[in-house]
Each structure stands twice: as structure tokens, then as C-alpha cells.
């Protein structure tokens, strides 16, 4: 790709970024354009992923090589599309039931193993070597085991939530909250890093080598809001915020 393409890309990327961020100020046509572009581009992206990773190598190529077995999933797949024709939409059941059967059959034993048995094991396992454990380590492992049981009490639906059950499930809620808190903290950091990344990129597009793309586009955006605000002064505001 030539240098011109890079600069064009910089302008495009800076523009799209600013358009989307502009929603934070107020809903506007530029955001809507970016939003709809994103809708189409997202679909396009997945379309080409499927095209080059499934339809060509796994369906078309085998068919050309006379491996007719792929007709089975292909026909099942095509059956899904009958959803659009109410009269024959029942044909799509063949595809769905295949997907559901496969998914369910796979989920049952693996769920039992990783999210059920292994979690019980995980609670017990630390105690298999008490002699090498510090007092604190032991206490921590005990907290994990007791906490897990308490959380399960919270999710127990067969007993009314009162008395001792309520007390235990309340303890469970604290563990849930601790988990939510850590998740919140982690996500905060991940999102801020990403925002930093976007701003950093905008900053790099603001250089002379990109002919000040960021500044020009940003100024354009501000100008739009100013003009639009002046023209629509008398009408009540219907912005994104508040």
C-alpha cells in the first residue's frame, strides 16, 4: 500500500473515531453514518471470515474434489434459510435440531467436568497437603470453600430465604460482591487502556505527515455543532446526554 493510502487511512480512521465519540456530546448525523457503516462493516468482516475460512475451504473445495459428504451439513445449513418462508419454515428445524443436539451433547459432560466436578475438587485439593501449608494459606483455602458453599445457598431456590438459610446466603452475597468488585476494577483498567489507545492514535494522526487530520476533522465537528446549535436554538434539545 502506498503512502497516499496510509494518509487516506489516517484521515478515515481519525474521522470515524471522532464521529463515534461525537455521540458522547449529542446524537448527530455523523454518528449515525459511522454507526451504520459499522453495522455493515461488521457484517462484511464476518462475511469474509466465513467465506475464506468455511465456505471456500470446507464446502466448495471438497465439493470440487467430489467429497460429497459435505453436502449433508451444507443442506442442513441451507435448510436454516427457509426461516424466511413461513410456509416451509419447518424445514429449518433439521438444521436447528442438528445444531442443538451437537451443542447439548457436547456441553453436558464438559460442563460436568470443568464447571462442576473440578470446582468441588478445587475447593478440596488445597487441603491434601496440610503439612506444607502456612496457617494463612489454610485459612484462605477454608474461606474459599466456605464462601463457595455460602454462594450456593444464595442460589438455592427450594427453601424460603429466612432464618439460618438467609444468614448463610447473605454471607454468600458478600463473596459475590467481592467478585463483582474485582471484575469492575479489571474492566475499568481495560477500557481506559483502550481509550488511551484511541486518543494516542488520534494524536498521531494530528501530525504534519497526516496533514493535521485530527485537528481539521475535530474543528469541522465543532463547527457543525455550533451551526446546528444556532439554527435549532428555538427548538427544545433532544441530545444524547441527560
Amino acid at each position: 500500500m502506498s503512502h497516499t493510502w496510509m494518509i487516506a487511512g489516517g484521515w478515515l480512521a481519525a474521522g470515524l473515531t471522532i464521529f463515534i465519540f461525537s455521540f458522547l456530546y449529542k446524537d448527530n448525523p455523523f454518528f449515525k453514518i459511522a454507526e451504520h457503516l459499522y453495522l455493515g462493516a461488521g457484517m462484511g468482516w464476518w462475511f469474509q471470515v466465513y467465506l475464506y475460512s468455511i465456505w471456500i475451504p470446507k464446502v466448495a473445495d471438497p465439493l470440487r474434489a467430489h467429497q460429497w459428504a459435505v453436502l449433508v451439513p451444507a443442506v442442513l445449513g441451507v435448510s436454516l434459510v427457509t426461516q424466511f418462508f413461513p410456509k416451509i419454515s419447518w424445514v429449518s428445524r433439521y438444521g436447528f435440531t442438528f445444531l442443538m443436539g451437537y451443542g447439548a451433547g457436547l456441553a453436558i459432560p464438559t460442563m460436568l467436568s470443568t464447571n462442576f466436578m473440578s470446582q468441588i475438587y478445587g475447593c478440596i485439593q488445597p487441603f491434601t497437603d496440610v503439612s506444607h501449608m502456612t496457617r494463612l494459606g489454610m485459612l484462605n483455602s477454608l474461606i474459599v470453600a466456605v464462601g463457595t458453599i455460602a454462594v450456593l445457598f444464595y442460589f438455592f431456590f427450594s427453601v424460603e430465604n429466612k432464618g439460618a438459610v438467609k444468614k448463610i446466603s447473605n454471607i454468600g452475597i458478600y463473596f459475590l460482591m467481592a467478585y463483582f468488585g474485582t471484575t469492575f476494577g479489571n474492566t475499568v483498567m481495560a477500557r481506559f487502556s483502550l481509550l488511551y489507545g484511541r486518543f494516542d492514535e488520534l494524536y498521531s494522526y494530528s501530525g504534519a505527515n497526516y496533514f493535521y487530520a485530527t485537528q481539521v476533522l475535530l474543528a469541522g465537528m465543532v463547527a457543525y455543532f455550533l451551526v446546528h446549535g444556532l439554527l435549532a436554538k428555538k427548538k427544545p434539545e433532544g441530545g444524547a446526554a441527560n
Binding site: L24, M189, F192, S193, L195, Y196, G197, F199, Y203
Partner: protein
């Protein structure tokens, strides 16, 4: 009076908050504040020291497996690693196993090779993207030219001066995997454990805790985690860059979130009892 002001503050247009965040992230990009970064993580220091202990001319292999989505955290790490390698006159080889990383790799070397007067083919080499990581890692144990017979630009890899005397893991001083995927597990399993390659890694902050076990067992010699890790590394190198300005931005933004939560809840409490 106070109550009124507080109530007014609560109904503040949230766009002011947006602006506050935008400023707290944008200002450090333009002008790094250089807020103190005293507690340098031991895991980061280990990577740095391992690199420093290699004699000049040693070959290190970087596996740069991140794409634009994890760029903010991982790109500064890669930059810092290459910077140190160039400063110490180490030879650098680059491999990658995800397709989106190629543009970023070019960016690292186009900037730093000028700064340190390094020449492609003599001081560093970039190999093309390969999809099947397991196959490549296994092959590199015996003869890496079995897969990488040509470099990214189509040159005969074995004939490049940078590759002199390098055939497999045994000839490498260190392998560092900078990744936003789970490729470290594969590196540890297929290269580190099997062939005793000294391995280190750079990862995003979110995935950092899950690599603790590898550090304890020594399967990883060190670990650079997230923006903080990159900033630590830059501090060690004494070359503040995007990691440092990033951590400045994060410092401000994180404090902002905490302050907002505390402030709004305190305010609410006051409104209730005033």
C-alpha cells in the same frame, strides 16, 4: 445552601464528566507528567536483568502476537524490549502467529532502527506470519529454517548475517512472547518445557494474574504486565515512552473514577442528613 449546591452538582450534565475523562487521558499523551513510578515490579526487573546479562551479539527471538486491539498495552512493551536489545547490541529475530500484528511490527522497527542506526538483515530480521504456532514451535527445536527458509521480504534467511550460527532454540539467548492471546501457554508447553528455552513474556494486565504459576515454577523468567509493566520497563531503561505516558493517563483516570464514586456517595449522604 450546601444542600442546594450538592443537588445541583448531582444533576450536572454528564458531558462534563466525559470532558474530564478526555482531558485526564489526553493531556499526558501530549505532555507526559512523569508521575513517580517507584514500585518496579520484580517480574519486570527479571526480564530486564535477563536481557542485560546477555553478551553483546547474542540472538533473542521476539514473538510479537498482538494486534491493534491490545496495542495500547503491548506495543510499548515491544518497543521497550527492542530498544534495550538495540542498546545492548543484541541481534533480534521476530516471529508472529497472528495476522493483525504485521503493521505494528513494522512500526516498532521503522522507528527504532533509525534511532539506533540498525540495519535490517544484519542486526534484526522479521519472519512472515505463520498460522500454525504448534507446528512452528516444534520445528524450531531442530532447525528453524525448515519453516522460515525465507524472511518476510523473501530473502534467503540462512544467508542473512543476523542469522549467523542460529539454527534452533539452543542458539538463542532468550525468547520473549508479547501477546494478547494465550500463546504463552503454547510457548511454555512446546518450547520452554521441552527444550529448556529461557522464556519471558509480556501480557495484558487482565491476563497477568493467570501466569503467576509459570513464574513460581520458573517456566517464565519474567513477566511484563500491562501498561504498568511497560512503564516499569521504560523506567528501567530510563527512556520514558508510551508506557509512561499511558500509565500517567491511567493514574489520572483511575483516581478520577475513585474520586467520583466517593464524592457522589458522600454528597448523597450529606443531602440525606442535612
Amino acid at each position: 445552601m450546601l444542600k442546594k449546591t450538592l443537588e445541583l452538582l448531582f444533576n450536572i450534565d454528564r458531558r462534563w464528566l466525559f470532558l474530564l475523562l478526555a482531558l485526564s487521558i489526553f493531556i499526558p499523551i501530549v505532555r507526559p507528567l512523569g508521575l513517580p513510578n517507584k514500585n518496579i515490579s520484580a517480574d519486570v526487573r527479571h526480564v530486564y536483568e535477563k536481557m542485560n546479562s546477555l553478551p553483546p551479539g547474542s540472538f533473542i527471538l521476539l514473538s510479537l502476537d498482538y494486534d491493534p486491539s491490545t496495542r495500547p498495552e503491548l506495543h510499548p512493551q515491544a518497543m521497550a524490549l527492542v530498544r534495550q536489545a538495540f542498546e545492548r547490541n543484541l541481534r533480534v529475530g521476530v516471529v508472529t502467529f497472528i495476522p493483525g500484528s504485521t503493521g505494528l511490527i513494522d512500526e516498532v522497527f521503522s522507528t527504532l532502527s533509525k534511532q539506533y542506526n540498525k540495519v535490517y538483515g544484519k542486526d534484526y530480521v522479521i519472519f512472515p506470519y505463520e498460522p500454525n504456532i504448534v507446528a512452528v514451535l516444534t520445528q524450531m527445536a531442530s532447525n528453524l529454517y525448515g519453516i522460515y527458509d525465507k524472511d518476510k521480504y523473501g530473502n534467503e534467511a540462512a544467508s542473512l548475517p543476523v542469522m549467523k550460527g542460529i539454527t534452533n532454540y539452543k542458539d538463542m539467548g532468550l525468547v520473549v512472547d508479547v501477546t494478547g492471546t494465550s500463546s504463552i501457554d503454547i510457548w511454555v508447553q512446546y518450547a520452554g518445557d521441552k527444550y529448556n528455552v529461557p522464556l519471558a513474556a509480556g501480557v495484558t494486565a487482565i491476563s497477568q494474574p493467570s501466569y503467576g504459576p509459570y513464574l513460581q515454577t520458573g517456566q517464565l523468567k519474567g513477566l511484563i504486565g500491562g501498561m504498568k509493566g511497560a512503564a516499569d520497563y521504560e523506567t528501567l531503561l530510563n527512556a520514558p515512552g508510551k508506557g509512561t505516558s499511558g500509565i500517567d493517563a491511567l493514574n489520572l483516570a483511575h483516581i478520577l473514577v475513585v474520586v467520583l464514586i466517593v464524592f457522589s456517595n458522600l454528597g448523597l449522604f450529606l443531602v440525606k442528613y442535612l
